[in-house]
């Protein structure tokens, strides 16, 4: 799959932003006044900034309002509805903390859960794709949630929660990669089933439909990510999980905390790039490529 920059930025930063909103909503940290204003500004910059970035890959972003209508069947639509709901509820909760210095507990919990709901609905956009066997697994939503919760806790300065979640996240990610590597073969879609010609003999793509490339090949056939997958996986694990945990366990210094956040963001950006670049869509089989 083509790793579009806008979608990678969205997945990374919105995940962190909504993770931070979750911990704020749950009352793990209860800032008031100016301090609350700063916390909520950071969370909204990440969450909303990511959402805005995600509209850059649309052909017609001016019609985005229509995307709220099909929540009955579409995970993308559900994500949109959930995001608007979470952002409104958390704005009410934030206003209570900033202006009145009071914690509207119930509002916070609803908003926090809705924030997590946004991350879950995002992950299901990918996990539902039968055409991309690597994504179609429970580890996809599990990793989205863990990264959002872990990264959010890291941003929120919750050392113990962040360390535990990042350690679990790192382990699950390695497990997900290992299983994901086999899933295309396990799904059983091959050039033989794609063409229905397998009963005659071995099928090979002889001539593509056109001499040039096309939308399908640009969008679905991406080889560079797989070429360097091993190195990128090591970089991801190091930056997103190991380095932040080590920095968290050192005696607390603001520099270490900032470095932990930066390393984690760089690691998650790499992880997301790999998430797309490594995923293979079955349509590549028609081109004899993957």
């Amino acid at each position: 799959m083509h790793p579009a920059a806008s979608v990678i930025i969205f997945n990374t930063f919105s995940g962190l932003g909504f993770g931070l909103l979750f911990w704020l909503g749950m009352g793990v940290l209860v800032p008031t006044g100016w301090s609350a204003f700063i916390w909520f500004t950071i969370a909204y910059l990440f969450a909303v900034g990511g959402l805005i970035a995600s509209t850059f890959h649309l052909g017609h972003p001016e019609r985005a309002i229509k995307a709220f209508s099909q929540w009955k069947t579409s995970w993308l639509s559900r994500e949109g509805v959930c995001a608007v709901f979470a952002l409104i509820v958390m704005a009410i909760y934030g206003a209570g903390l900033v202006f009145a210095g009071t914690r509207l507990e119930f509002v916070g919990i609803i908003g926090g859960l809705a924030s997590l709901g946004v991350v879950f609905t995002t992950s299901m956009i990918y996990a539902q794709m039968k055409t991309v066997p690597r994504w179609r697994h429970w580890t996809t939503p599990a990793m989205y949630l863990l990264l959002s919760l872990g990264g959010g806790a890291l941003l929120a300065g919750q050392v113990r929660i962040a360390a535990v979640l990042l350690i679990i996240g790192g382990i699950l990610q390695m497990f997900a990669w290992g299983m994901g590597d086999r899933r295309f073969a396990e799904a059983g879609t091959t050039m033989a089933t794609a063409t229905g010609l397998g009963h005659i003999g071995k099928v090979r793509a002889f001539e593509p439909p056109h001499t040039g490339t096309n939308y399908l090949m640009r969008e679905f056939i991406h080889v560079v990510g797989r070429k360097h997958a091993d190195q990128l996986r090591i970089i991801t694990i190091g930056l997103a999980f190991v380095l932040p945990v080590v920095l968290l366990l050192l005696p607390f210094l603001h520099v270490f905390a900032a470095l932990a956040v930066l390393a984690h963001i760089a690691g998650v950006l790499t992880l997301r790039w790999l998430f797309f670049a490594q995923a293979e869509h079955v349509v590549g089989l028609y081109y004899g490529k993957r």
Partner: protein
């Protein structure tokens, strides 16, 4: 709405005969010709006259080489367009309701004025039947020439998809695959028509007819047994050269 309608009785679709298709791409050209100037946004090309040409097509013809266990390889031309699946995954993922399956005849269409160009339907389609137009930013796909098949302004023989109308080999057939007595359904039953990627669970309406088994040539030359066998081991200078080179150290035997 992107909820799929209950399965329609009428299932319009194509039957493509892989035995007959000669790979001339006439269907590709006629499809682009009709659909670029009729229903919806035109099908744009980018850098059409350069080495990096690219463009939107609703129908593309692949060619595959199939090597049986024994005997010579076969070349099979393979036209591919939207299969108008009964369980169309491209429809249910659409966030805006732009993608829909018609309840009356099962044709899968895109309402382009609602399409935000997110590309998710193309991700959900295992067949590569949908292409986002680089110029218009909306999703394009085969309409089964919905603006021809019901068009009473056209002579009756033209009321079929452009690709079917133009196919010089008669490799493409259009009809109601929901009616077991229709010509296309009979053809599918008779020739063992099959689905592409059945494991994806999309229940395609379009069917493909497999290439017929190749004949095994019987001995028809009645004089052959009485003729001198053709020498297999060469003669003259070539024969001497072959032997001489083989005799050298390391020479091929």
């Amino acid at each position: 709405m992107t909820q799929l309608p209950p399965p329609s009785a009428k299932k319009l679709g194509l039957v493509i005969d892989l035995d007959t298709c000669v790979g001339c791409h006439a269907c590709v050209v006629s499809c682009k010709g009709w659909n670029t100037e009729n229903y919806g946004a035109p099908l744009s090309d980018q850098n059409a006259y350069s080495g990096a040409a690219s463009g939107t097509f609703l129908n593309r013809v692949h060619s595959y080489e199939v090597q049986p266990e024994q005997g010579t390889a076969q070349l099979i031309h393979f036209p591919k367009s939207c299969l108008h699946c009964e369980d169309a995954p491209c429809v249910t993922v659409c966030p805006t309701g732009a993608s829909y399956k018609r309840a009356e005849d099962g044709i899968v269409l895109v309402n382009e004025s609602d399409c935000i160009g997110c590309g998710l339907c193309a991700w959900a389609c295992p067949y590569g039947a949908r292409e986002l137009d680089a110029k218009e930013g909306v999703m394009k796909k085969c309409t089964l020439c919905v603006d021809r098949i019901y068009n009473e302004n056209l002579p009756e023989e033209d009321r079929q998809p452009a690709c079917v109308r133009t196919c010089p080999a008669g490799a493409r057939h259009f009809g109601d695959l929901g009616d077991p007595d229709s010509d296309v359904s009979q053809l599918v039953a008779e020739r063992g028509g099959f689905d592409l990627m059945p494991e994806q669970g999309t229940k395609p309406v379009n069917k493909y007819l497999p290439p017929r088994p190749k004949d095994v040539e019987p001995q028809i030359d009645i004089l052959a047994p009485y003729l001198e066998p053709v020498a297999q081991d060469g003669a003259g200078f070539a024969h001497w050269l072959d032997k001489a080179l083989s005799a050298l150290p390391g020479g091929a035997k």
